[in-house]
């Protein structure tokens, strides 16, 4: 325990550096995933057949273990000389984020009370107005929950991505293992766990903030 605190103390600067890298990777991936997943989820509510296909595909991707996905992507991306590093990690994180974000957006929009949707139509809202003023605000808690799930998941997968050279907190675990330095491994594990828990709590708070006041769950 003491050696752990000592280690963290002595390497604080390096650990912070890794944490920033980690957050960077996850943030970029989540922003791109939102830009893809939310519009796609909204579109799928108008295309039932495609919704089934996409959700099925996304859930298959979700079952692929991340280390196996990296294993498959490295040879493929080597063709364009990007086998290891930031790009494969980013692609993987984006792929894994799709299921929670698309599914939650799709469900959120679909779950809007049909009577409310009917009223919005009857009142003379255009499809776009309905989406912006009624459907998305009412679906916000669920959409945010999807983003939260994706973020927490990504923090974990980004740790594994350190083994293919994407940087981040996983580097501590990677180096700790290869140097048989248990303290270093533990430090990495603890820091990344705290990061995941803190991210979860912050996003839970954001989720509450984003929920329109009138919606009681």
């Amino acid at each position: 325990m003491e050696s752990l605190l000592n280690f963290i103390n002595q390497n604080a600067e390096q650990i912070i550096q890794y944490t920033i890298e980690h957050i960077e990777l996850v943030s970029i991936a989540i922003i791109i995933s939102i830009l893809i997943g939310v519009p796609l989820g909204v579109y799928l509510t108008t295309n039932q057949a495609l919704a089934e296909t996409i959700l099925h595909l996304a859930s298959i991707i979700m079952t692929i273990p991340s280390i196996a996905l990296f294993g498959i992507m490295i040879p493929l991306l080597s063709i364009i000389d990007q086998g290891i590093g930031f790009l494969p990690a980013l692609i993987a994180l984006i792929l894994y984020s799709q299921l929670p974000i698309i599914r939650n957006t799709y469900t959120a929009i679909n779950n809007v009370d049909p009577k409310i949707r009917d009223a919005a139509k009857g009142i003379g809202m255009t499809t776009f107005q309905r989406l912006i003023r009624v459907e998305i605000p009412n679906g916000m808690p669920l959409i945010m929950a999807g983003i939260r799930t994706a973020t927490v998941l990504n923090i974990g997968i980004a740790t594994i991505a350190a083994f293919i050279g994407s940087g981040g907190i996983g580097v501590l675990i990677n180096q700790g293992i290869s140097r048989s330095n248990h303290t270093m491994v533990l430090a990495g594990a603890i820091v990344v766990s705290i990061l995941a828990i803190v991210a979860d709590l912050i996003l839970k708070f954001v989720q509450v903030k984003f929920t329109p006041k009138g919606i009681n769950n």
Binding site: L50, L69, F70, L76, I177, V185
Partner: protein, 250 residues
């Protein structure tokens, strides 16, 4: 055929073609050759992989399901939320971190890997057991009590059949995650198919990478499908119908 359906079929075709092209590429480049050339080692690794998954998963089922039943009994109502929150929180911790922590405490080896996976599988199973048992309609239980069923009879005849689908969903989630986490067991000396994947990464050997990664992927997807089937089977027909109708009304 409507445009919507056509788009769906095109997307499906597109992804099928990607998969086919990938396998064509892998086979023509001998990427999967280790599986046949080193069949004995492959089988040994596979066996190790599956052993890790099932021992940890099996233990987790044996502990988590009874624990879930226990904490949903009236006398534990007060600690119920605590357990649920802990399970939620525990699942935010990355799998690699759990493995690393296990190694830090138990050292290197397959035992540490099994313990890590066991702990990691407990959470989704526990969570789904509690959720499944708590979702049983209170009026149904009320009616059963009114007819004079004992609490044990209510558990066996009503609560568990109702919760079976959800409990099985938890087991499915846990085992599918385990397939992936077991692939990381190599890092703490636990063996498994991860050996080839990490060897591939370290040696920049694509053949090892693909020979390790493809079986792990297939194993995960197969596990998911298999357990989905079990999940359907344990779900009483009447409940399945009720869920379907509810779904349609939504």
């Amino acid at each position: 055929m409507s445009w919507n359906k056509r788009i769906a079929i095109i997307v499906k075709l597109f992804f099928s073609i990607i998969v086919i092209v990938f396998f064509y590429w892998a086979i023509t480049n001998n990427m999967l050759s280790h599986i046949t050339n080193e069949a004995t080692e492959f089988l040994a690794l596979l066996k190790q992989h599956i052993t890790i998954i099932f021992i940890s998963g099996g233990l987790a089922v044996l502990i988590a399901v009874p624990l879930g039943i226990l904490v949903t009994r009236p006398m534990f109502k007060k600690v119920d939320w605590l357990i649920v929150n802990m399970a939620n929180l525990g699942q935010t911790i990355p799998s690699l971190a759990v493995l690393a922590l296990a190694m830090g405490i138990l050292g290197i080896g397959i035992k540490a890997a099994i313990v890590a996976l066991f702990i990691y599988s407990l959470l989704p199973i526990l969570q789904n057991t509690i959720a499944g048992l708590e979702s049983v309609n209170k009026q149904t239980i009320d009616a059963a009590e009114g007819m004079g069923l004992t609490s044990l009879q209510i558990l066996w005849k009503i609560e568990l059949p109702h919760a079976a689908y959800s409990i099985m969903a938890g087991i499915r989630t846990a085992l599918v995650i385990n397939v992936g986490t077991a692939a990381l067991a190599y890092l703490i000396g636990g063996g498994g198919l991860g050996v080839w994947i990490f060897t591939g990464i370290q040696m920049f050997d694509h053949t090892y990478l693909i020979s390790g990664a493809v079986p792990v992927t297939v194993l995960a997807i197969a596990m998911d499908y298999l357990l989905k089937g079990v999940q359907m089977m344990v779900d009483p027909k009447g409940l399945r119908l009720a869920r379907k109708i509810q779904h349609m009304e939504e």
